[in-house]
Subunit: 304 residues, 2 copies
């Protein structure tokens, strides 16, 4: 067997593993309960495989990484997890360091804390660790969690920064390159609490290719690849779909408010569950206007 043959076989095997592997994303809008019933963190631990799971906490988004770790150390300990550890990354060098990669290679769950998503991406974007996280999700069916900045970082196009103005405003929000666990979406967090609908509409107005996902505090959008989604916690997930929209955004000046006609809005309160057609019972039947969104975010994207 030639090296080329071996390579082709390895690629085929990997494609098959991607196609079979589920893997979950737990995308949290920040402010999740860490002291009381911890519904969201509990769900994350379950999806990692329960208290015996190996969970790695990435605090790179935060400038107070040690404090962040102590908070989650306590929360996961309170949930009975014993094999959780702090992956303390201060530089891209750290995120390419073999010792740190080894921590992720056999992790059942990887959790990204809040902070600043730009900082997180500056440290881990495009590193060996980033690649290993994709392998963990896509080949091994691991669970990737992220809250606040750690949630925004999950999409390919990432909300980098932007004020939450009273009205949508052209040029008020900038996007960056995120980790790409999801595509054709952009994720905002602390959504209802910080009144960020106009910020999400600002993005969708200029980027109708992207569907906007706004996640409330203490609320998680849980994505099971190839299967479906559910909303866990206290609030709701808002989806803003501008694909059928018409707008004058191309003609107006920066900082002006665009005309937006026919934006579609979906509100998915906690408890909502939707499964891809053919995979589940009636209780999780997806309403037709949500189908394309569901298909997109549950898609088993290949390892890139």
């Amino acid at each position: 067997m030639t090296a080329q043959d071996k390579n082709a076989i390895a690629q085929a095997e990997q494609a098959e593993r991607v196609a079979k592997s589920h893997g979950h994303l737990v995308i949290i809008g920040g402010g999740e309960d860490k002291q009381n019933d911890m519904a969201i963190l509990k769900r994350f631990v379950e999806l990692c495989g329960g208290p015996d799971a190996k969970i790695v906490v990435i605090t790179a988004a935060s400038s107070v990484a040690q404090n962040m770790w102590e908070t989650y150390d306590r929360a996961f300990a309170d949930l009975g997890v014993s094999r959780h550890s702090h992956l303390h990354l201060q530089s891209r060098h750290d995120a390419n360091d073999e010792r740190h990669i080894r921590d992720v290679v056999d992790a059942d769950g990887i959790f990204m804390t809040g902070g600043d998503q730009k900082r997180l991406l500056a440290i881990i974007g495009g590193t060996a660790l980033d690649a290993e996280m994709h392998a963990a999700l896509k080949l091994r069916g691991a669970c990737i969690g992220g809250t606040s900045a750690g949630a925004s970082a999950m999409s390919g196009h990432m909300l980098a920064q932007g004020r939450a103005e009273l009205h949508p405003e052209k040029g008020s929000v900038s996007l960056g390159a995120g980790l790409g666990f999801l595509h054709k979406v952009v994720i905002d967090q602390h959504f209802s609490e910080r009144q960020r609908l106009s910020r999400l509409l600002s993005i969708v107005a200029q980027n109708p290719y992207l569907q906007g996902i706004g996640i409330d505090e203490d609320t998680a959008l849980v994505v099971e690849r190839g299967v479906g989604i559910e909303v866990v916690g206290q609030g709701a997930v808002t989806v803003v779909d501008g694909r059928t929209m018409s707008t004058n955004v191309a003609e107006i000046a920066n900082h002006e408010t665009p005309e937006l006609i026919d934006v579609r809005l979906h509100l998915l309160p906690a408890g909502s569950q939707y499964a891809l057609p053919g995979t589940d019972d009636d209780a999780r039947r997806v309403p037709p206007p949500l189908l394309e969104f569901l298909e997109n975010i549950t898609k088993r994207n290949p390892i890139s």
Copy 2:
């Protein structure tokens, strides 16, 4: 000619006048500028016919009617209006009093101030004055303005009260009977400033028959009956259309957040102008998803 014939002729003549008369509604989201360029009040005066117009100010929504009047007295005087007067109504008796009705019979403009729309309706709803206001608009083409409570009062189904929660909530908003210058809509004001989208969605979720209109502060939706609309001022008008929506609102308990799928949202910033097809130039062409809304709110409703 019999009395019956005369009556039939009078009715036919009235129907013709309704069909021909335009008449404007100036629906203001509260907080309109009353001291500087006063763009909205200036537009109201123009639509009344200019500085020589006879303008009547109804302060019945307010519990501090005299203060209210003084504010508008000054503003209209500053705009060069000389024939403006205070229609001070303290009871339904006042609103049926012939002396007060005479004030309205030849008014070119009628302006309703802010306060509490329930108070306004309790005093004037269903009175001779109410009927005379409809005649002014529909038979004589007068201009009816209203700000804040005076704006909410204009629709047939009136937002009576309700908290602006973080999320839409079943049973959190109550409707009442408004003046009915517009139908199949419900109007909210101080819209972006007081973060009232979820309140409007609460209404639409339970009353998909109604389209929600949210008007920002210092912003007016100007309706020219039979012709079109424009948005004047600083902010925007948000339209929420739940007619194609699917929701579980009928199945959930009070105070729960409903699932809402496929609500249509339109954002019309100040400067937007739309005319009914065939009545105007390309600049005011109405986008197809807005056509039905436009046809409804510009409809020349009969005198009831």
